[in-house]
Point group: C4
Chain length 195, copies 4
């Protein structure tokens, strides 16, 4: 089995997920700049979700690089991840439609949390297939970023019942955590390559 | 002729089919959790169809692995399969919109049945091109899973005129049949590889 | 320059065109089989357009196989073809919405004609780049099928002002012309290969 | 790291962006040719945006050909470009819906300008990764076309407050600038190849 189609199919689904979110931003009725104002919360939630899907694509890209052989479990763990990510657009639309009301913020957190769990499952299925001594196992390490994100999502879900703005802040913080120190993993992979 | 574009195009179409189904789940009007309740049947039918398209992608992936040369017949048998699968989203939408009423359940069964027949045709066209002694012919074997599914779809279609819930149960049963014992085929392919 | 991305991008656009047409078939309001009846003209026009996009993907696949080097002209001739094909979904929607009224039938013919011309331009640009003695030039030959189709589209456009049903019949006839004798070209390519 | 998935994902997103714009052109209500008239501004803005996305795909194709190694910065600079390009469909829809009113024309210019800046950032990130003596650095040269476009977008944005038609003219002029002299870069690359 080759992993090319697994990557191609995942890329296709992720490309569609990241792009159909824009369909939630409807063309404004009026023709003045002021008509763009009601779109602002939708735009912010679009930016947030675009970054998240980008992060998942990025991490998926890294994870599958270490993959050498595909099996049925991996195919289904991958589809399971894509399932949760496919719920991001509708959740984003709800978030943007209701100016970040409580319930949409909670739901958004639940979907981010489930996506994170699905990614963890995919990672574990691949690791158990590749072996603990594989290059991938070393690159993943103790996966502190993953565990911190999962904890923060849980906190954000609970907090959203009291103050939705703190939850949104947490979602942005998690996004920033993933955006910044990507270089560390690249260094490890680079060092391995050089040896 | 190479099979890369056949795979790429099929992956693209399948990725879009699996993703546009989410567009049937409209952003709820209200902003409370209770507003998510009417979406529940839509969500269940989305899950069911997501699994089915996933199964087809999976089986398509396996089938085309054994393919060595592409011809016009294969291209059209493949497009024929994609045609029936492309009807799954609208059928899923109808199923979810009407709380699993009788007619949508029947139609859903008809489309699953036609997709299964289209897959069978593609399989036969590929087998007749590859030859009966090919690796693929051995891997497919007597295709008992395929024939059981087709029979169950037919039963579900008939049953849907009397009790739609039994039909829905059958659709889930068929999905589970395909989800579980994928490992058997992999073993055969693996054994072949080792020889 | 490599042709992989040209193929990948074209496959992506064609896959989306063939799939978003299904979005024109809206989920029926009622829950009985009788509610599917108004969808019938839409379904027929969907089938027709699905076959046409399938034919274009098929021919595009064949044409690009003979391509050895990509240049700017080819990229733009290819985008020009994709532009006309991208108008098929909205034209199909109009055709299905109005039970095959005169104007939608004419427009559909115009778009099929322009797509055929765009394909011809792409073919000529590629032929002039590859040279008259190339394998592709021999495979294309005098392109009688192409010229017959273009003539039939023109006839159908004119006829549509008097009787739209004859035009629709012509569209189906052209589709069947392309569906049937694909094997002839394959034979020529196969003979070349054997030499 | 390989650049195949970067290209595949970008191709997917660009293919979807260029195709979902057609969804803004709704099927006309009536069944006569006169019902197509109100679609005319939408059609013109669709043509303009189709050309722009085509240009970006074309330039992206060229830029990534010179790329030899992918890193995290490049992935995110690429996603940043895709983000701005993903706003073209909704902006195009607004432009077409309001017969080229002032505010939509300004917004369209802003999004084209931001896309151009995002492309410049991607180009710089790739150049700083590849080195100033790389083949790419020579091919890009002083990037006069890029700088002229950015200036013209800025002028068009300012002008749109006074006369939107001049701005639209400028958008078409920039598109034509990119369409015509693509051959120059190809020549340089060809000369390099021959050496």
């Amino acid at each position: 089995m080759n992993k090319n189609r697994l990557e191609a199919f995942s890329d296709g689904v992720l490309a569609i997920i990241i792009t159909i979110m824009i369909l939630e931003i409807k063309v404004p009725q009026g023709e003045d700049f002021i008509d763009l104002f009601p779109l602002f919360p939708k735009f912010i939630s679009y930016v947030l979700s675009f970054i998240y899907v980008g992060i998942y694509w990025n991490n998926h890209h890294h994870l599958l690089q270490g993959l050498t052989k595909v099996n049925g479990k991996i195919l289904w763990a991958n589809l399971h991840l894509l399932f949760w990510l496919s719920l991001i657009p509708v959740s984003t639309g709800w978030l943007g439609e209701h100016y970040f009301a409580k319930a949409p913020v909670t739901l958004y957190g639940i979907i981010l949390f489930m996506s994170a769990i699905a990614f963890l499952i995919l990672q574990n299925v691949i690791l158990s297939s590749e072996g603990k001594k594989s290059l991938l196992a070393k690159a993943v390490g103790n996966d502190s970023k993953g565990r911190i994100s999962q904890s923060l999502y849980l906190i954000a879900i609970v907090v959203s019942f009291f103050n939705e703005w703190i939850s949104i802040l947490i979602y942005f913080v998690v996004a920033i955590i993933w955006l910044i120190p990507d270089t560390r993993i690249e260094k490890i992979l680079l060092e391995k390559e050089e040896k």
